[in-house]
Amino acid sequence: MSGARNISAALRRARIPRPRLAVRPIVAPSQCATALRSFSASSTVRADRQIKYTSDAYPNLKRNPEFGEISVEDVAFFKQLLGSESAVIDGVTTDATDDIEPFNGDWMRKYRGHTKLVLKPGSTEEVSKVLKYCNDRKLAVVPQGGNTGLVGGSVPVFDEIVINTSRMNQIRSFDPASGVLVADAGVILEVADQYLAERDHMFPLDLGAKGSCHIGGNVSTNAGGLRLLRYGSLHGTVLGLEAVLPDGTIVDALSTLRKNNTGYDLKQLFIGSEGTIGMVTAVSIICPPRPKAVNVAYFGLESFEQVQQAYLAAKGQLSEILSAFELMDGRSQGLVIESTGNKHPLEGEYPFYCLVETSGSNSEHDMEKLESFLESVMSDGIVADGVLAQDETQFQALWRWREGITEALSHLGGTYKYDVSIPLSDLYQLVEDCKARLTEMGFVGDDDSFPVRAVVGYGHMGDSNLHLNVSVRQYNKEVEKAIEPWVYEWIQKRNGSISAEHGLGVAKREFIGYSQNETMVNLMKQLKAVYDPNGIMNPYKYI
């Protein structure tokens, strides 16, 4: 139904555009009839829209003339090297536009490249040969996993060859005694977690895109996710990895040791470097035992002050069993209701909601702790109302109120996403300030004449990590200019990070200076030049 609504909204917009704003409707009116006829699902409108090329959206990005152009001979070489038909999607000698499009664009439909070639090597050796060839020919490449990134890091900008990990999807080994899992880069996170679940362990990382994202991509982007609070970042849990440098060198650092103080810890360079130094092909990671007792409570709170108090109380009283503390503001939950039509778990409406999860090995012990925590936050008036999941279904339903925000926003239109680290006390002020700023400028409103639907905030409270999302009816340069670089300056003043867990990619590349000083950026550039002298690895991004 919302599809039809969006279409009519788009039509209305098209007829009476606000003269002041450069409106770019999500659906061009001419496409509406087709959309109505051929689709009925809510995703249709977006599915039919052409995504703007990244090269058009970022006109200051120019194709590096040093890079080679893909030739027919190159394609023949790759076909011969990778053997099977399905390993090469060839848009050079054939018309494979439809097949290549999913690799060219990102899921938010914000970034789109011009690649004509997708390679899916099946082994580390194949990756090595591919990269060596590309390096010799100076062909630029983009390593790509599940393509679930949020900053355009996993899609090409120009004609970079996509090297996709989906055919490298084997779990290599698991040692139940140490809990160390060794797996190929293309293993889907949820598949790895299911595999571990059968062996009473769990993957130390969990995030909304778990059904699609690849663990190689998770490591390359140093994904944070929902349980970082408990299990720490990938810089700690990844014990080793295997990667391929642009010259074809296979870096075998696939250690399964927890402790290894011999020389520079080079594997760390590949964690979070977004494929700009080399391509991760396998990961060795330490996995905790799967908790036997997991509980979830969902709170409604009256102020951000109280959210902070609740967090302190949770840390103090739940301590070692606390596994997630998530913040959602009232507007974000309102948008989930609007998008899903689900009934909200709490009766009243509150400006803030929190989701608290505990994981432990003994349900009686956990329950006792949790109940005394709940009793204290209720009786101290910190929490206004709340619910406790009574069964697995409710457990999952409550989590969906947090995990479903991103999806709900994508159904409602476009979103400007900012993923930031700010000291806890200032965390939500950013949302308030941003909303005030955009409202003052006349962008925010309830009907379709306003480009901005809502300014919402949610995130990983336990990690001081906020997601500031500006939900827009249409992407709009003036709105963007009103937010950027204002938001980065705001964060810089508080010594925060402009990208806590989403990375830099294309979106945040030019803003790295707000969180890293010149010396740091120069050191990074030196490092990049050492390992990737031709600059073929994921160009136009990161630094």
């Binding site: 099977s84 038909e85 399905s86 036997k292 409570a297 969902y298 709170f299 009934k343 778990p345 709490l346 009766e347 109940e371 709940l374 009793e375 209720m378 929490v383 109302d385 709340g386 619910v387 406790l388 999941a389 009574q390 069964d391 697995e392 279904t393 409710q394 999952q396």
Partner: protein, 261 residues
């Protein structure tokens, strides 16, 4: 007749329905130790409906909602949940835990008859079945033992007047059927009846102070006799997984091999 509704809601603690059950090594039943348990989902609907009857403020006031469950030492967990959802008090009928599925439906029906008589109950709301045994008999047996009218798999329950006329709608093949009866009666509940609420924190706190009495089968003159013996429990044969083909040519040759082309 009735000045108010005195509702009995029998509930059962079962393996959480989102969890995949596994058969124990002895093949005598389902592995229950260390597995997450919760309230039988159909019983959740019964409680919710009882609470809604109270909130709806119909022609008959709800005087009391009694939740009851028979089982081992962890049964009070689900009774607290029932009281957090809105039941006023609860009986825990202490029956030792066993791997064979506990008392049979007839035993439970006789127990419920005893409770109905002692507690002067005039409406029994039960889930249409428990998802562990899937027997779906208790409600019907209870109505038979009491000689009361019964309406099963209810998707809508309405109290029509002060004299205790009840209309129950349930789904039948190709439509719905509406039944009318007078209290006292037995109603079993089905999925479409309502959407159970979450147990809110204030109500979870309150539920701790609500009376939970521990009783035995003998208190109601019932013995745990078994007529059935579970001989063996086995899993269905595993599904044969599909194979993957490398490309279109592989698919075509596979189809030819299977004689589909």
């Amino acid at each position: 007749m009735a000045s108010g509704l005195r509702i009995l809601v029998p509930v059962k603690r079962v393996i959480d329905y989102a969890i995949k059950p596994r058969i124990n090594k002895a093949q005598t039943g389902v592995e229950t130790t260390g597995v997450k348990h919760s309230l039988n989902p159909f019983d959740e609907l019964s409680i919710e409906e009882a609470v809604r009857l109270r909130e709806r403020k119909g022609p008959l006031k709800v005087e009391n909602i009694l939740a009851l469950s028979a089982g081992g030492p962890k049964v009070p967990d689900v009774l607290r949940t029932a009281m957090a959802m809105g039941a006023d008090r609860a009986f825990h009928i202490d029956v030792p835990e066993s791997a064979d599925g506990g008392p049979e439906p007839l035993t439970i029906a006789k127990l419920l008859r005893g409770v109905v008589e002692k507690e002067n109950i005039n409406l029994v709301l039960l889930g249409k079945q428990a998802i562990d045994g899937d027997q779906g008999q208790t409600g019907q047996m209870l109505a038979g033992l009491l000689g009361w009218p019964q309406a099963n798999q209810a998707s809508k329950i309405e109290i029509k007047d002060e004299s205790g006329t009840v209309e129950v709608t349930h789904e039948v093949d190709g439509g719905v059927e509406t039944l009318r009866a007078k209290l006292p009666m037995v109603i079993t509940t089905d999925l479409r009846l309502n959407e159970p609420r979450y147990a809110s924190l204030p109500n979870i706190m309150k539920a701790k102070k609500k009376p939970l009495e521990k009783k035995t089968l003998a208190d109601f003159g019932v013995e745990d006799t078994r007529r059935l013996k579970t001989v063996k429990v086995t899993e269905p044969p595993p599904r044969k997984g599909g194979g993957k083909v490398e490309d279109v040519d592989g698919l075509v040759s596979k189809l030819k091999e299977l004689g589909a082309l």
